[in-house]
Symmetry: C2
Subunit: 241 residues, 2 copies
């Protein structure tokens, strides 16, 4: 017992060192990413800065792509956590407040970590194929959005149908929405799901335009502009207008 605990502790020590060095490699890689972008991320450069020989990194990550995958997963978790934390600061029934808080949190994260934002929401990394382990972390932030929709529908605080007449959906889209509803959005009608996705994609469109420079020279007060736009999108989301 004591021995097994002891050995557990000591092997835990080795494991802890390993975890620390893994974290250090990721931290350095993350900084390189922030400075140069994903294409320029090089195992050798990272190793150099960590103070190892390049081949030593292979004890921690079997390839460059695996290191990139780790960074991608971390980035999804980071933005997901930012959104969750922001969401939790508002009363559950304050849908508009939750939506605005989530939007602002995602934006704040994106502005502090533009290369990580680009990594996950920008162009796919050339030649990189995302493994399935990224799916879970990737959906984390979307679940925050869906939670707002679910709560809103449960309390009747979201206009359930669009006032507009032209909302007959293609059958296949209806099937997609039904599947989504079954898996992750119980009780949320099609019209609300569609509005949710409308404002959701709009949020990332806005962020991409801001971060990738497409509003350069047109908008200078990015804060005010963003705020005005998400207040508008909150209306669209909640009352459908």
């Amino acid at each position: 017992m004591t021995t097994s605990v002891g050995s557990g502790v000591t092997s835990g020590a080795r494991a802890r060192v390993r975890a620390e060095i893994t974290a250090e490699i990721k931290a350095v890689a993350r900084r390189h990413l922030a400075e140069q972008g994903s294409a320029a991320l090089s195992l050798r450069a990272v190793a150099r800065e960590v103070g190892m020989v390049s081949s030593a990194v292979y004890r921690y990550f079997p390839s460059r792509d695996d290191l990139l995958t780790a960074l991608i997963i971390d980035a999804y978790h980071a933005v997901g956590e930012a959104a969750e934390t922001a969401d939790a600061t508002r009363r559950r029934r304050d849908l508009a407040g939750r939506w605005l808080a989530v939007c602002r949190a995602v934006r704040a994260w994106a502005r502090s970590n533009p290369q990580e934002y680009a990594l996950i929401y920008g162009s796919p990394v050339p030649g990189y194929r995302a493994p399935t382990d990224t799916i879970g972390p990737a959906s984390r932030v979307s679940l925050v959005m869906l939670a707002i929709l679910i709560d809103g529908c449960a309390h009747g605080a979201l206009e359930p149908s669009d006032g507009a007449p032209a909302s007959h959906l293609a059958h296949a889209v209806g099937a997609d929405l039904a599947a989504l509803r079954d898996v992750a959005a119980p009780g949320v009608p099609d019209a609300v799901l569609m509005r949710g996705m409308l404002v959701w994609t709009q949020l990332f469109g806005l962020l991409s335009f801001e971060l990738f420079g497409h509003l350069h020279g047109v908008i200078h007060d990015y804060d005010g502009f963003f705020d005005a736009q998400i207040r508008r999108s909150a209306q669209v989301l909640i009352s459908g207008s």
Copy 2:
């Protein structure tokens, strides 16, 4: 006279060959871009395929970045032209029809040229600094959108103010919008400009999500989904609801 015309023709011949080879280099580069992405675009590989030695390319483009710039400018022109053509197929007063046609044209172009879309609307190319010559071509597609707003306002076909009360803008944003209005959107009030930018960023958010795989596994009927979303955004644009 005859000589000068003659010499004009012959020097024109040389110039034409030069233009043709320049075009060929760009065409090959564009294909490499489509296959591998911008980071993998290599002067040497392009030269190899064109059938020149790599140094010969420097007669046409002073550096790799200049080649990339040329591709970026071409891409902006291509999407701009697609939008203009689509816009012109509808009667000028048919605002919704114009908006939908433009959205569909941009999407069709993006789906046919995903890497070029990524080049201009995805993450900025690492280490690449866009020169000022890209600004004109870049704004071409936006001008199509603005034309719809201008025409709509001129004919009273666009709801000029938002029904919602919470539309007091930060002063700085008002200044940005005023500047934009002076330069490129005469007669378009703040509320309409904001709505225009809302649906505009939403369009690109939607396209980025579709093309970069963020809807993978959730939406299968991309056509139907896109169509439903832009019909909704047309409503937001035109009637503000």
